[in-house]
């Protein structure tokens, strides 16, 4: 059981680390949003699932509270993360930031 939880936490940490690494590596705001928000979400899903399983196994009021709160955090993360990154990307494009090295930009052609 413990090994399984550690494995989940390790996967989460690796993907969160990759997300941070993507911030340094990618050239512009759009590709950085890919790196940061995506890897963070996937990393966070595994971390939160580890917390939920830990809470349920522990049981009782304390563990149950932990599990339910973590599950709610996951639910709201899944709603707010895409909304926020979409707002950032749309705002950046409206402010005139062009994707670096883009092979095609249909949104620019539309205007």
């Amino acid at each position: 059981m413990k090994v399984f939880l550690y494995a989940l936490l390790a996967i989460g940490a690796v993907f969160n680390g990759l997300g941070a690494f993507a911030l340094l590596r990618f050239p512009d705001v759009y590709t950085r949003i890919h790196g940061a928000t995506k890897c963070t979400t996937f990393g966070s899903i595994f971390s939160i699932v580890a917390v939920v399983i830990y809470g349920f196994v522990k049981g009782g009021g304390e563990g149950g509270t932990l599990a339910v709160h973590a599950l709610l955090a996951l639910f709201f993360l899944l709603i707010t993360n895409p909304t926020g990154s979409h707002a950032l990307a749309r705002g950046a494009h409206r402010a005139g930031v062009r994707p670096v090295g883009a092979v095609v930009d249909k949104l620019e052609e539309k205007k």
Partner: protein, 171 residues
Amino acid sequence: MRRWGAWVAGAVFIYAIYLLLTLWTGKVGVWSLGELIGGAVIALLGAIPLTHFVFKREDLRLLQPHRWILFIFYLVGPFFLSMARANIDVAYRVITGKIRPGIVRFQPHLKTDFGRTLLANSITLTPGTLTVDVDDSTGEFYVHWIYVRDPEPRPEDVCGPFPSWARRIAE
């Protein structure tokens, strides 16, 4: 009439989440009396803005229970699979730096606001694709794609089974 329906549905939703957050706080069931009353007041007040924004143009078909079951099945099944696959793909691109970015346009033929929201959020949550804009009048999606395989893609090329699922759940 529809506004009242939206208000009740929103209040029930907020109250359910409030009750989940305050589990194991007291003796009435597992809640304390103060939490039950306070939560009801907050839910009734908090649902007022929902009547203006969330159900502005839609009917209340999202309250049909089979859509919720489909939605949960979609989340743990096809959606999670695509997201896992795309995450590994983007992890590979982070390490090697092989990117070919661009903003592509496609037409998923979704009519309702909720269908479009569901598809846009699914696309943005999947690594490698990011919804930059949605044309409100035509329903065309503008998606930033980290590795453009085809400058004029079909919806299935960009986001796999998501459009058909969005149609099944929301329309």
